[in-house]
Amino acid sequence: MRSKPRLFRRLLVANRGEIAVRVIRACRDLGIETVAVFSDADRCAMHVHFADVAVRIGPAPATESYLVIDRIMDAARQTGAEAIHPGYGFLAENAEFAARCEKAGLVFVGPPPAAIAKMGDKVTAREVMKNAGVPVVPGSEGVLQEEKEVLAVAQALGYPVVLKASAGGGGKGMRLVADPGEIKSALRAVRSEAKTAFGDDRIYLEKFVVGPRHVEFQILADRHGHTIHLFERECSVQRRHQKVIEESPSPALDAKMRAEMGAVAVKAAASVGYVGAGTIEFLVGADRSFYFLEMNTRIQVEHPLTELVTGVDLVKAQIEIAAGFPLALRQDQITQVGHAIECRVYAEDPVSFFPSPGKIEELQVPGGTGIRNDSGVYQGAEVPVHYDPMISKFLAWGRNRDEALARMARGLAEYRVRGVATNLPFHRWVLSHPRFRSGQYDTNFVSEEYHGLEGATADGGGELAQVAAIAAALAAWGRRKQGSETARGQRQADASRWRDQARREAVRE
């Protein structure tokens, strides 16, 4: 591995949708051939069309295709891939998968299996970070067993507290507990959820940080001992712990705090021997205190924000690092220029947030100054019911936050999708909300402020309602006109048949 590094000839992308397309694009730029894998639901997906080689790996359910390590390994062997990029989700943070790749002589584009395992276990991660001098949210020392023990620790921390699964992450396997009376049911719920989802029901306790913001730092580390950070992303616009809009820089940080947190992020990554692209997530309290929350050992959905403000292609960097190249840039060469915002556009109802799978009948993607769109679908493509219904990550960059906000609002107004419902109206709502516009929001923003969109046209008196009424009337008019022409034809046919019949009957008499 210490010989002169060279890029891979062929790389397999063990993912689908926009992130598979993203990785394929980076490979194209590097001159690396790509292998796409696909389930039956994705035979005609965009990532299949964009790859150099495409291999079927099973039926539609992810548990029978994208999550089956053996099938991915077979596809890699069969196509002569030298490396595997896992994207995010599916097998991206699966230490066993990373180890299996290594064993098969394939380069896993990501950190060593040990780093994945350490950071995947939240209790271990807290322990490692505390030992490295990284601030963590006050909480239990390690895993808790008995209800009595939980009650005692909660009492000591002070309510409210958060009960979390050690194997959890990404908002899954956690419950807010407001008083001792809720401990019993929370314990049962988290344990059973964790057992089902992760096969591991160990739990721990953390103090609840009031009015928290979610701020994360992007890091890059090579195999030669260099670790740098590429500044932060603000991810506090969340719905049920799922990020929906992110931005960079964070409106919550000043230069001093940014430098401090960046240094901590580098220290955190270095402390686990991290290699590749990773993210250190922090909770930032209303009092501007910050705590290590977790580390994501993969490329993040929202990574393009960092690409827009730093100019660094993170997926290219991941691949170059995996191939053994040293980092191309030093810390002092990384600068944050301008401001970027990302909206995750999903095929889902903007009020109920129910997924809205189906065929994309029409897709008109905005363009122009400062716009970036990372899509995994095309007009005519299907959004399958089996996976995350993302249509695209839609981004705007500006010289400052105001310019980025204006461009994003403009882009959202231009974005048109037909055939499936989308959360675009939700994004437009956020972009027009004073709390978001001011930058003074925390992770409670959506739950506190969003009550559906009924205000917009409920009374039918607004201009858009009038235009809708006119459009419906024109459509009905058009059909009636067409209908009456068809009906006239029909009537004539009926009439002539009737005449024939009449004639025949006349003959009989």
Binding site: V351, L424, H451, T457, A475, R480
Partner: protein, 171 residues
């Protein structure tokens, strides 16, 4: 190229309007919404997709649905329009239909019925709650668009409903 006016009654979010159309040119219409004239230029650029100029203001409206329940996407907003052809009737009949005809109350979004607040046969005031539909974590009260009598309630608590599905009928 003037033709005979055609007239419709539309219902949007509980508000009724009378929409009258008269074709003035190949793509030009005079449209009266509750008696107020609007100059409309309309070109169907794709099936169900209308490029409109309403008093010189451009809109692209995507219309889909059947003759009684249209979903119109316009200006980034989805509007559900119930529409009745009123041109065959006299003005008095239209007024009567508008005032007293039975009206379907439809679901504005997919969700689950969690409670019924009124019973068939009951007389309700405008704005009175008829039932509650939950969409994920939010409960939405479905209210009477006008005073009247509930003729029918077509759903039960616990039932999931689709956008546009008839929940109740009021007269």
């Amino acid at each position: 190229m003037g033709t005979k006016a055609v007239s419709y009654v539309t219902l949007i979010g509980g508000r009724r309007s009378v929409v009258e159309l008269q074709q003035k040119g190949p793509s030009l219409f005079s449209v009266w919404v509750d008696g107020v004239e609007r100059r409309v230029d309309s070109v169907e650029i794709a099936p169900g997709s209308f490029s409109l100029l309403v008093d010189d203001r451009p809109f692209v409206a995507e219309v889909c649905g059947d003759a009684e329940g249209y979903t119109v996407d316009v200006g980034g907003t989805r509007v559900i329009v119930q529409l009745t052809d009123a041109s065959a009737r006299s003005t008095d009949e239209v007024a009567a239909a508008t005032a007293a005809g039975p009206t379907a109350i439809r679901a504005m979004m997919p969700g689950r019925v969690v409670a019924l607040l009124a019973n068939p046969g009951e007389s309700v005031k405008k704005g009175a709650g008829i039932l509650v539909v939950e969409a994920m974590k939010m409960e939405n009260e479905v209210t009477a668009p006008a005073a009247g009598k509930i003729v029918e309630i077509r759903v039960e608590p616990g039932q999931t409903v689709e956008t546009g599905q008839v929940l109740a009928v009021i007269e």
